[in-house]
């Protein structure tokens, strides 16, 4: 078959099972856009900004576990992808980005729209390629998908000069195994490691499991649950680990870290054994490393060997696939009971419950926490929620318990404002039968709200909940605590979101009191199209608990119990 490079690209995408790609055309990628006309099986979604394309690919990938694809032109098209690529890198999300490049002969000449995108993205991709020869193209795209989805997943960028896209060759798809001599993701643990881990589990009196994103990506939820139940080990979750264990499970304590449940943080600090599974001891979950879980032995299972002993020195480090390793361990894990430990954790949880803002008189105010809690209630706790970054994100993590994997999509590692709406659109493409909610702040929403047009053009339905507090809320909270309430550049003017939505043809509603929340969910469900709901919430709400950056994990700022005085 005589094919152009561009047709080879499309042929390879088809072979990879790609059903949708998110992108934006331009000169250097035009041959590939033209080739798309011959491949109607692959749907192209025209975004409004390439950052949106990368986030959509990312949202698609997180919702499905399959590789998301973004495509852009050279120069500014490519640089607009960068934030999305960085976001995917930090959260190990498998995406493949295809960019056009100026023709080979022009590379290095500062040609129109030439940018060194492989140089720019080198530290924020798992791997990247500049394809110099059309004969390498098919191998490269196969490798790109393989690298993106296997091992510790991540973004891969393939930069293709325009003349390579145009060149014709006799094409045969390269079947057979992929030969990547330097790419061998670890899988299983060896016997010594297993024995050492079992020994620690056997001895532990106050064990805690720390479950992360790796559990979801390895599909190890069942194994996690079995380990927890068999040895009665309480489970704490990272933000990206939410969904790894049903949050209504009696052994699931909740989310750990900066805005985690106090009970989780106390449990981690008091534990005599941490079993860290598919998580990476990010500073947002450890706080001060010097005082982090000082009396515990530590087992760490992660597919990335460079994560072991990176932030926290461990007693048993196992570089392996967490599902494989748990399957190796489970047959030998003893049944155990730790009633005192479990009771202690329950007490911490009860104390936390008493401080819940939901027990406060709202005095006519609408709290963000109430909105999320009620969204949880009226969506049956079963929606796919996609958040932006800020207070609403932490409130979602606290007040929307998730029962199954891949139902909370959020930018954890990079904390990218603007992620919410495009990632929700991508997620909906991956899971068309699920109810998808984008939960965003007034600030982050305005970073990528141009994608409202994409949602309408493509006829995709997401429900957008804007929690409008007229502030960059999370930054305002830091200013309140640490900068004596000097609210520099955090009060935020916004357009009339309901009118804005209407300008896009999007049904919209404004909610100002708690008794309208149920109605707003019904309103969202009653429309076939994307819907926008603005929740006008209390301006100066605080997300508690909070571990100030760099503080000891147990030294949280807590909300006082109703009737108690604020601690100072």
């Amino acid at each position: 078959m005589l094919l152009t490079g561009a047709e080879i690209v499309m042929e390879c995408l088809l072979r990879e099972g790609v059903e949708v790609m998110f992108g934006y055309p331009g000169g250097a990628i035009l041959p590939t856009y033209d080739a798309m006309t011959k491949y109607p099986q692959i749907r192209h979604v025209l975004v409004r900004h390439e950052q949106g394309a990368a986030h959509m690919a990312d949202g698609y990938a997180r919702a499905t576990g399959r590789v998301g694809v973004a495509i852009a032109t050279s120069g500014p098209g490519a640089t607009n992808l960068v934030t999305g690529i960085g976001t995917a890198m930090m959260d190990s999300s498998p995406i493949v980005c295809i960019t056009g490049q100026v023709p080979r002969g022009a590379i290095g000449s500062d040609a129109f729209q030439e940018i060194d995108i492989t140089g720019i993205t080198l530290p924020i991709t798992k791997h990247n390629y500049l394809v110099n020869d059309v004969r390498e193209l098919a191998y490269t795209i196969r490798e790109a998908f393989h690298i993106a989805r296997t091992g510790r997943p991540g973004p891969v960028l393939v930069d293709i000069p325009k003349d390579v896209q145009n060149e014709k060759i006799e094409f045969e798809y390269p079947e057979g195994p992929i030969r990547l001599p330097g790419y061998r993701p670890p899988s299983a643990a060896d016997d010594d490691q297993l024995a050492a881990a079992l020994e620690l589990i056997q001895q532990a009196k106050r064990p805690v499991i720390l479950a992360g994103h790796g559990i979801l990506m390895a599909g190890a939820s069942n194994e996690l649950r079995e380990l927890s139940e068999r040895a009665q080990i309480p489970v704490t979750l990272t933000l990206l680990g939410k969904g790894a264990m049903p949050e209504n499970h009696p052994l699931c304590v909740g989310m750990m870290g900066m805005h985690g449940a106090a009970a989780c943080n106390y449990a981690i600090q008091e534990a005599d054994l941490l079993i860290a599974l598919g998580m990476r001891f990010d500073d947002r979950v450890t706080g001060n490393l010097k005082t982090y879980s000082p009396n515990s032995r530590k087992i760490h299972v992660d597919i990335d060997p460079s994560e072991i002993n990176k932030n926290v020195k461990v007693d048993v480090g196992i570089a392996g696939d967490v599902r494989t390793v748990l399957a190796q361990l489970l047959p030998h894990v003893p049944s155990k009971q730790h009633p005192e430990w479990i009771t202690q954790i329950r007490d911490w949880q009860e104390d936390g419950d008493e401080r819940d803002i939901l027990h406060y008189e709202s005095e006519g105010k609408l709290f963000g926490a109430q909105v999320i809690n009620d969204l949880w209630k009226y969506t049956g706790g079963d929606a796919v929620t996609v958040t932006d970054v800020g207070q609403h994100q932490m409130l979602e993590a606290q007040y929307y318990p998730h029962q199954r994997p891949e139902t909370l999509l959020t930018s954890g590692g990079l904390g990218t404002m603007g992620f919410g709406l495009p990632a929700a659109i991508g997620a909906k493409f991956g899971k068309p039968d699920e109810e998808v909610w984008a939960i965003v702040g007034d600030g982050g929403f305005q970073m990528t709200m141009c994608e409202l047009a994409t949602a309408m053009q493509e006829g995709v339905k997401v429900n957008i909940a804007i929690l409008n507090n007229a502030f960059l809320g999370m930054v305002r909270q830091w200013q309140e605590f640490f900068y004596e309430e000097r609210y520099q550049a955090t009060p935020m003017y916004s357009p009339d979101f309901v009118k804005l939505a209407e300008a896009f043809g999007i049904p919209a509603m404004r909610v100002t009191s708690r008794d309208q929340i149920e109605e707003s969910v019904n309103f969202a469900r009653s429309h076939e199209t994307t819907v926008l709901i603005e929740y006008v919430i209390e301006k100066e709400e605080i997300v508690y608990p909070m571990v100030p950056a760099g503080a000891d994990l147990h030294n949280m700022l807590r909300r006082p119990k109703p009737g108690e005085k604020q601690q100072s």
Binding site: K126, R135, I147, P174, R179, G182, P305, S306
Partner: protein, 188 residues
């Protein structure tokens, strides 16, 4: 600083454009301090070999190895200094030899080292030494009072002793850019 604080990592890498850049970028990005990094071709045209020496007090060689392992173009990595190994550094040192005293001193010093004079004139001489890094350093130290005017070192290359072999059977699927039979060790 003794040799004991030094760790030596050897990496086999694909001989492709940009690989050195990836390695250098990794060190910068992770804030790894390296004492020396050398790269050269091997007996297999598509494989190059890097030797990286680090000061363990500042950067743990095991972390470097774990991170190098993650690079797709790095075929294999080994911390060779964990087991018996041979290492060599090569230096060319240009020293002042503009009087009889300095010429004599240089000759005498060279006799006590695996060094030789490869160029000599009425003003300067070039001394070549190939030896373990600490011996090269000792020679440089002795030459200093005479007057070093120019100096270049290759950086350390290393190899594990005995039958432990670091090699790869890998052949690339498409041999690119090698048609004319001349294999280059690509830089950035």
């Amino acid at each position: 600083m003794t040799e004991n604080h030094k760790q030596t990592v050897v990496a086999l890498v694909e001989n492709k454009p940009g690989v050195l850049n990836r390695v250098a970028s990794l060190f910068r990005r992770r804030n790894f301090n390296v004492d020396s990094l050398t790269v050269g071709r091997t007996h297999k045209p598509h494989i190059s070999r890097m030797t990286i020496v680090v000061d363990a007090a500042r950067t743990d060689g095991r972390r470097i190895a774990a991170n190098l392992f993650k690079l797709v173009n790095v075929i294999d990595v080994k911390l060779v200094s964990e087991e018996p190994y041979v290492s060599r550094d090569l230096a060319l040192v240009k020293v002042r030899t503009d009087d009889a005293e300095s010429r004599n001193a240089v000759t005498l010093i060279c006799e006590r080292y695996p060094a030789r004079i490869v160029d000599i004139g009425t003003k300067v001489a070039i001394i070549e030494i190939t030896a373990q890094e600490d011996i090269v350093e000792a020679l440089i130290h002795e030459l200093e009072p005479i007057g070093i005017v120019e100096l270049v070192r290759t950086g350390v290359v290393a190899m594990g002793r005995g039958v432990r072999i670091l090699d790869a059977d890998y052949e690339p699927p498409v041999m690119m850019g090698h048609e004319n039979g001349s294999y280059q060790v690509y830089g950035v």
